[in-house]
Subunit: 198 residues, 2 copies
């Protein structure tokens, strides 16, 4: 990049640090940015700074929020005795989109992954245990249906059951709208295992 | 995105405007940004604003620069009578990397594309013609080897030859390090056509 004018080279270097952005993409983004009007660039940088300044984590559920506690935790209509445990804030958004969960959340901010050196202490596990009061009726584990997510769910189930709370796991099965032929065998056998009477 | 806190939703909206960034990537970038330290975010936004403020186009060759004329145009060691015409500033960088061109550049900022409604008047064509003084010995057309680039080269050749300047085109042929078996037929026939005696 030696031949780019310095501010351009610095911009490319900064952009390369973004996830999924390599040198080619960074160049393309940099060219796009300098082709924008000053007001457009300002609008983008303002939105970055404001998001960074204003967004905090809810002290109860660790979801993203502007106020603490977050609108979900402070909503009197939500069932405070039903906690859904997810890995990431984006999972809360996905669950909320279903409009079929009226409880509250707990965001772990990751999953147990010995390969990446992430253990329970790197996640909001202690905070979850602290939330399980005598009124909590059920904790549904909605970690991702992959190796790390399953391991995390197993770990949490073993940790929470002795407290005396009902611990459940999201059902595995065939995705709605999918084609049986293309569903992988593990999912298919889980779907068979979890079959229901009609 | 209704459920994201407002600053987060706004940031995602802004990021979606970047080229090659869809809603999923924008979400991922937004989560990454708010996970960074305030200083890191500041450093990124500063680099964007500074690049936008400081980078201008050279009034002679239309390459990106901090000073006008650009370091290439103002370098007394460069041959001012040999002009290489390219489509984009990044093409100048690619040519400079070869270290085998000692002339100066002219950046068209695009190529002729009737499908996209881009004609010669949308490019720096007039400015190129104005640069062809009596001293200019050769103009090498280094537009991209695709339909638009070829059309642009043909158009420029027809425009510049009557002025009395030598107009050349970059050679087509087999990329160095490639495998003959995998070279497409058009390139192969061009390579055959342009064969040289050893």
């Amino acid at each position: 990049m030696a031949r780019y004018p310095k501010p351009m080279a610095r911009l490319i270097e900064e952009l390369v640090r973004l996830p999924g952005v390599g040198p080619k993409t960074a160049q393309r983004l940099a060219f796009f940015l300098i082709s924008q009007t000053p007001a457009e660039v300002q609008s983008l940088t303002d939105s970055m700074l404001q998001a960074k300044q204003r967004i905090i984590y809810c002290s109860q559920c660790f979801h993203l929020t502007e106020e603490d506690p977050c609108p979900i935790c402070s909503n009197p209509k939500r069932n405070k005795n039903f906690i859904c445990v997810v890995e990431e804030p984006r999972d809360v958004i996905a669950m909320e989109r279903t409009k079929s969960f009226d409880g509250i959340y707990h965001v772990l901010h990751g999953s147990i992954s010995p390969l990446e050196g992430i253990g329970p202490n790197d996640l909001k596990v202690k905070e979850l245990v602290a939330r399980i009061g005598p009124d909590v009726q059920e904790v549904v584990l909605a970690t991702d249906p992959n190796v790390e997510g399953e391991a995390t769910a197993m770990y949490l189930a073993r940790l929470l059951k002795p407290i005396g709370v009902k611990v459940t796991r999201m059902a595995h099965g065939m995705p709605v709208g999918s084609d049986l032929e293309y569903v992988d065998e593990v999912t298919l056998s889980k779907a068979l295992e979890g079959r229901r009477e009609l």
